[in-house]
Subunit: 201 residues, 2 copies
């Protein structure tokens, strides 16, 4: 309450919106996308149901906001690596933080809920595909910059290499859920070596 | 009915059991693990609810049977590659079929439902971890055999490389759900090159 006093109206709205997103993430993880109702989300966020609808018209709109936030984080990271003096070394360096984010089990649980919805809900499928498309060009730029000095690659090959790098991170997140022997530092070394090979071969 | 006439009792039970597993897989994909009730599964399988309970005491037992079937398929594939004359070439060759299985969207949807349950349901988490542990030794044998002639690796390093290979396949399955430009043949070439590098470096 005290902090809200020093907050202007747009800032307060933003805070409330984030409060809903955090509550929704928690509800989706606990009860699944279907099991979590707008009423549950409102209760978890400590708001009335009417208040929630003021920010998001339905659960798909909440998913869209969660995906948009993730997309902005990825965009910022891609831009940082592209603007680095030595892009391939920046990729190797950021693999460390990227691995930890992908091994975060709360994060993986939420991503799984959203992905599980893709095959059932065409609106969720479109939200994720659009987010993917929005980052395609940056992915291509990253790989091309990381290969500076090496021959340019045809678009298919560029795309396939980016898919393989994304797959490594996302797949390690899944492995972390069930594997009892995933030793983080050993995996990071393999990951870094593999990224270098995928980029530079 | 005609086919059941020529079927003895254990064979009929096996057929019925598989019928339940297929129906359950369909219901989990359509409605999620939580949304699919034993009554839904019974209806989809064309059986009475009492009949279903004759084969499986609850939904976790159904998950356990789905995971066990997957484990047996993986075990057979691992043994085939281990017994091949040239194990690394067998791995490269089978990457083709493995990629298609991991890109099968019905299969991915079912795996996502099961994985999403890991963080909510300790029994499902234990089923998946146990299946993982059951294949650990074969994974180690596969990688060691594929590296024949190269220096042996410490257990951590062996484990990390196997995790990276599993992650590639599972991660490409996730990418297939949302990426619009995952071009199968280009991805297969990158996958095969990457497996070779992870095994032999």
């Amino acid at each position: 309450m005290t902090s809200e006093k020093s907050c202007n109206e747009p800032c307060r709205a933003e805070t409330r919106r984030n409060q809903v997103l955090c509550a929704a993430a928690q509800c989706f993880r606990q009860s699944g996308f279907h099991g979590a109702s707008m009423a549950n989300i409102a209760r978890t966020a400590g708001m009335s149901v009417g208040h929630i609808y003021h920010y998001f018209e339905n659960k798909e709109a909440i998913i869209a906001a969660i995906v948009a936030a993730e997309q902005e984080k990825t965009r910022a990271l891609l831009e940082l690596m592209i603007s680095a003096e030595n892009t391939i070394e920046a990729m190797i360096e950021f693999a460390d933080k990227g691995l930890d984010e992908h091994l975060d089990s709360a994060n993986v649980a939420l991503q799984l809920e959203i992905l599980a919805e893709v095959s059932r809900n065409p609106r969720v499928a479109e939200i994720l595909s659009a987010s993917d498309r929005a980052l395609e060009d940056l992915g291509d730029q990253l790989l091309s910059k990381a290969r500076s000095g090496l021959p340019p690659l045809p678009p298919d090959e560029l795309g396939a290499r980016i898919e393989a790098i994304c797959a490594l991170f996302q797949g390690l997140g899944l492995r972390g859920l069930t594997s009892q022997r995933l030793e983080r530092n050993a995996v990071l070394a393999v990951l870094q070596r593999t990224i270098r090979q995928i980029v530079s071969s």
